[in-house]
Amino acid sequence: MANLTTIRTRLATNLGTISGLRSAAEIPDNPTPPIGIINLESVDYDGAMGGGLTTYNFVVTVIVGRAAEREMQRKLDSYCQPTGSQSVKVAIESDKTLSGEVYDLRVERSSGMGSITVNDQNYLAAEFTVTVIA
């Protein structure tokens, strides 16, 4: 049986392989960009008989910096690429079993590119939908 805290931690570890990007398994009080934060959105139980399959739906929020900065827009673009060393999809899927903790995972989409407000500061951010089956 997979451990949810371990899944969070190992997703953050995968995300942290992107050079220059911090990662957080839990939501920090004061995030320091650029940072990727692992948020659990929902859990779907009983995908198979006897609890044989559980689906964890995560949203990874990547915050890059002040919304007005052009450089930050380009950085966010690189995180949203499907390939490359700065790709969030590539980083999270670099170990698809999270060291054997889960069956498989997939970064399905990125969305919500735009400005968000954290502690009265406007940042540029994007969300990545990650489905984990365990």
Partner: protein, 137 residues
Amino acid sequence: MAKFVVTGTTVTVGGTDVTTACARAELVINAAEVETTDFGSAGFVEVIGGLKSGTVSLDFHQDFGTGAVSALFQDLVGTVTAITLVAGNGTGATAETPLYSFNALVTSITPVSGAVGDLGTFSVSFPTSGAITYATS
């Protein structure tokens, strides 16, 4: 027993427990209709029960690991194999979780299936062979 939500039909195939790879299980038992209509049937069709038969349908999650469900079925195509189902979310035969036991002819499998992004699954449907037994203890 109360009404229940299906979460744990116990499934074995050829003696191997494949419960946690199975997402749906269905066993249908039929009796053939044998017509006995005659001049005394008052204008209506009359039937009696004929030979019984069964069909088992199972949906699985693909897994090609050693001893996993996909590899298990690979070796069973064309053979008659023993299948058991424990209904009512049970793990053993009781009055509330009856055990159905039967043999079935593994007529086909679908080892490769699925579109990009889908969970890998496959479905099978086999005719039973011989009697279907029902046990409550």
